[in-house]
Every structure is written in C-alpha cells, then in structure tokens.
Assembly symmetry: C2
C-alpha cells in the first residue's frame, strides 16, 4: 500500500502552508525585519539614516531591500523637495500590520536567549 500525505493534504493545512510561504517570500533575507522594525520605531528616515541605524548593512543591500519592501507596499518612499534632495522612507499602514509578527519574533528571541543562559548557568 502506497502512503500519501495525511496532514498537509487537508485544505486547511494547505492554505496555512501557502500563507507561510507567502509571508516568508516577502520577508526573507537578512535585513527586512531590521529595516521594518527600525521604520516602525522611527517614523520617517532618510537613506543615510537607515544606513546608520541598521547596523552592518551596506548601501547596496539597503537599496535593494528598500525597493523590495516598497514594491510590496510595506514602506513608502517620498522624494522631498529640499536642497540637497532628501528621501523620506516610512512604514505604510499596511506595513504596520506586521507589528504583531515582528513583536512575536522579538519576544521569542528574547526568551530563547534567556533559556540558553539558564541552561548554561545550571
């Protein structure tokens, strides 16, 4: 008797799996959570501000990640009419819906670190 998938073949699980794939494809990579987290905290920031805030990122990656996030309507990019020109990046209303997910991730990470220290100190 040949076996088939039992759990993930149910419609509910398939929708769930697809949803996780979707979310991951928008948020994949080393920097997206950091950029989003920074913009959620910091209202409006310029390119150089972000380069300073997001520790370790280079200008190429920042530029690319900002384009990705803008394309998915998670952040907005506005060229300001100033001299010299500045660009204002900020989180969109839709981007803010990621707050619970980012918070949950941060919460888990904090507890993870605690649990590692506790284990070490035993």
């Amino acid at each position: 008797m040949k076996k088939n998938a039992q759990i993930n073949s149910t419609p509910v699980c398939q929708v769930r799996m697809q949803a996780i794939t979707d979310a991951m494809s928008l948020l994949s990579g080393k920097w997206k959570f950091h950029i989003l987290g920074t913009l959620i905290e910091g209202s409006t920031l310029g390119f150089m501000d972000l380069l300073r805030e997001v520790k370790g990122i280079g200008s190429k990656m920042l530029s690319k990640e900002l384009q990705d996030l803008e394309m998915n309507n998670l952040i907005s990019r506005t060229v300001m009419n100033t001299k010299p020109i500045t660009v204002a990046y900020s989180i969109t209303e839709y981007g803010k819906t990621l707050s619970p997910l980012i918070d949950e991730m941060a919460k888990w990470g904090i507890n993870y670190r605690k649990s590692v220290y506790e284990k070490r100190d035993k």
Copy 2:
C-alpha cells in the same frame, strides 16, 4: 557634525534587534517553518512521513533541517525498537513555544493573500 544612529542605539532596541537575529538564525531557510508546522499538527512522524507531508522537500534538505532543529531542541528524534527500524520525530515542549509565532506568520500570510486578491478585483 557627524551623525550617529539614534533609534537602534538605545539598549531596548539593541536587545530587540539581537532577539530577531537569534530567532531568524534558528528558523532561516525554506523549510523550517513547514517542518515545525507539520510536527505541531501531526504529533509523531517518521522520516518518510515528513518527506511526504512537506511538499517539495528532498531527502537531503529534510535530513539537514531535522538535524538543525534537533540541535536547537525544537524537535526530538527517537529511534524506535521496531523491525525495520523507524525513527519518531516530534515537536518538543520548547518547540511548541513557537506556535504563536507560526500562527502569527500564517495569519499575516492569509490576510496578505486576501489583500492581493481584493486589489486585483477592484
């Protein structure tokens, strides 16, 4: 005047950023959420069960990801005393603490997909 980081230099934000980095390093890659999600749903599964359940994964990746997850105490691996031998993979108590995060991710993904369809239909 040289500018420095303002937001992410605060201790609270540094801890948060570190936490997100920690969480991501344990959960990175294409398959970990799917495997964990499947094991949370499905109690105990063998290697071949998982190969069938996690659609698209190959045996090499499955093997590697299971080792990673086991090392971090998120899943357990038990060799059963059966003939032919079988291996029981299951989620640990600690692994279950990821449920809220996975749920949040799935929830966001489902709403994302809805919002894409709505936009398309306008």
